[in-house]
């Protein structure tokens, strides 16, 4: 097949070979797909969320299915940023993957320290800040719902690293544009949207709340309309800010819709559970679409009308 131009510029000097990435927490550390697909082909892979110290995560049950979606309360289980740098990054470099390190913390200081440890690490191409975490200094509401808190985190990280910074928006913010603007004003190179939306699952018969953590994050096709709307709003109001679209993307059609509402790239999440090759399939489909329509990935961005 012809090789259409799929390259996209996602800000901060980072050009991705194509706009199809995998979403944090849905693709492990990018090393679980040997024999399934070549990670170097993808636009990029976002690591499982990394914290300063390793975390075991929540007790079971951690997942529950819902209508066209699923809830997860993994509890951000991860090997810790140091083990990631030591053990995972070298293996990812060998595989020539474009790696976005997804990080989370409950204080501005810890975000800064995470950035410090990842700055200059060969093989890490960008940071994605997961701000859907309780802000311990401010009474436990998420960083992500508060423009000020988001701005402060972004600024601290900006002052610490030259890596491109993506801030991952929480769909629970009442005003996503205000949060995105705060990120932009404080040095973010892009925002990614959206993270999961908190939900709950209960067994009608017994009354048992399914997730040990009580609530979990809703993902999958069910949330796609919300993700499209938030990406569209942010792109329309802040066209200069690159947006990475996330939420319910399973097929090439989903990805194209996301580009059309203004995303410069997309992340495939829950769909990888249904089909480990989902991201590659979306990429193949996008290539075929661009060939058939004589277009490029860049040209699709923001074309919804």
């Amino acid at each position: 097949m012809a090789r259409p131009d799929l390259e996209v510029d996602v800000g901060g000097g980072l050009r991705l070979a194509n706009p199809v990435l995998t979403a944090s927490g849905t693709f492990g550390y990018g090393l679980e797909h040997d024999g399934i697909g070549d990670v170097a082909e993808l636009g990029g892979i976002c690591s499982k969320g990394l914290s300063l110290a390793p975390r075991e995560g929540n007790p079971p049950e951690r997942i529950a299915e819902t209508a066209a979606g699923m809830l997860n309360a993994i509890g951000l289980a991860n090997v810790g940023v140091d083990a990631f740098v030591r053990e995972k990054v070298p293996a990812l470099r060998e595989r020539r993957a474009t790696v976005i390190a997804n990080v989370f913390a409950t204080s501005v200081e810890d975000f800064r320290e995470l950035a410090r440890r990842l700055d200059g690490v060969e093989g890490v191409h960008a940071l994605e800040l997961n701000v859907s975490c309780p802000n311990v200094a401010h009474g436990g509401l998420e960083f992500g719902v508060d423009p000020k808190a988001c701005g402060a985190v972004t600024r601290a990280v900006r002052d610490t690293t030259r890596l491109p910074i993506w801030v991952k928006l929480s769909p629970e913010a009442s005003d996503s544009v205000a949060v995105a603007r705060a990120c932009l004003d404080n040095g973010a190179d892009a925002v990614s949207a959206i993270n999961t939306i908190r939900g709950m699952s209960v067994d009608a018969r017994t009354g048992r709340i399914r997730l040990a953590n009580r609530t979990g994050g809703l993902s999958g096709p069910a949330i796609k309309p919300i993700a499209l709307r938030i990406v569209w709003e942010v792109h329309r109001k802040l066209p200069e800010l690159p947006v990475i679209g996330i939420g319910g993307i399973s097929t090439v059609e989903d990805a194209i819709e996301m580009l059309r509402v203004g995303a410069r790239a997309v992340q495939v999440g829950t769909a990888s559970f249904v089909d480990p090759r989902a991201a590659w399939n979306v990429l193949d489909g996008l290539r075929a679409f661009c060939v058939a329509q004589r277009t490029t990935a860049r040209e699709l961005v923001g074309t919804a009308w």
Binding site: E32, A77, V274
Partner: protein, 259 residues
């Protein structure tokens, strides 16, 4: 372990077993698989149910097959698959019995099955027969006689003891009712078990009390089946968690914090 592949397989046959169970045979290649390994299955029903469902391989010869108990929407749809219908199958997945313990001519075993947990155990019994091991003693329990699918086949290849809670077949009670006697009848035997978690917990406790090793084929709700969602945990003895899809399903029962 060979990497999992997502393959599309056609349903070759779908036969009812007992009241509430189905054996579905598929046309296709399940990969290099051993007993205890599983697949993630999904039909062409789109986004609801969204996730594929984990099913132990019941056999791969002559055809890949699974035993299905209907408990919810996903298993209802799988059980309704007609010959010719296509399923997507991610396989092979997980650690086999043979990855958790040696399965050889010298293996003496007591097999303890609860309900649909029979699937991987029937196959491990066949594997044991294949390598010339001593005929296993199998204890197979269900609520009633209707909850003992494939008991006839099990009886052909093991010495089969049956228990039912209502006494409608075999000994009245649970598998634990006869487990100590079974362990006595097979001195030194390893215990291989699969069934509801409380049953496996009780079996492991008795086996350990009797100084036996016990290999359990675990269950947990799963999203991916191949180690990336981190959803399928069970508590590990001594703290932390095991991932059923990648550390298991077949694990030494001492590794688990049963509760």
């Amino acid at each position: 372990m060979s990497p999992p592949r997502l393959v599309t397989m056609k349903v070759a046959s779908n036969r009812r077993v007992g009241d509430a169970y189905r054996v579905i045979e598929l046309d296709g290649d399940a990969g290099v698989v051993r007993s205890g390994q599983f697949a993630m299955l999904k039909g062409a029903w789109g986004v609801a149910p969204l996730l594929p469902r984990p099913m132990s391989w019941l056999a791969v010869e002559p055809r890949p097959s699974v035993l299905i108990k209907v408990v919810g929407e996903g298993t209802r749809l799988l059980a309704a698959a007609a010959p010719g219908d296509e399923l997507t199958v991610l396989t092979p997945l997980g650690r086999a019995f043979a990855d958790a313990t040696e399965i050889g001519p010298a293996t003496r075993s007591v097999i303890v099955a609860g309900g649909v947990g029979i699937a991987p155990l029937l196959w491990v019994a066949e594997e044991l027969g294949g390598v010339g091991a001593e005929r296993p003693l199998a204890v197979y329990g269900g609520r009633t006689r209707a909850d003992l699918p494939l008991a006839e086949r099990m009886a052909e290849i093991t010495e089969l003891w049956v228990t039912t809670e209502d006494g409608s077949a075999g000994t009245k009670g649970r598998v634990t009712e006869v487990l100590d006697a079974a362990l006595d009848a097979r001195p030194g035997a390893i215990v291989l078990t699969c069934g509801p978690t409380p049953m496996m917990a009780a079996v492991a406790q008795r086996a350990h009390a009797a100084g036996r090793r016990c290999i359990a084929a675990l269950e947990a709700p799963m999203a991916c089946g191949y180690g990336v969602c981190l959803g399928c945990v069970v508590p590990r003895a001594g703290g932390g968690f095991l991932y059923v899809c990648s550390d298991g399903p077949c694990v030494d029962a001492r590794e688990i914090e049963w509760r």
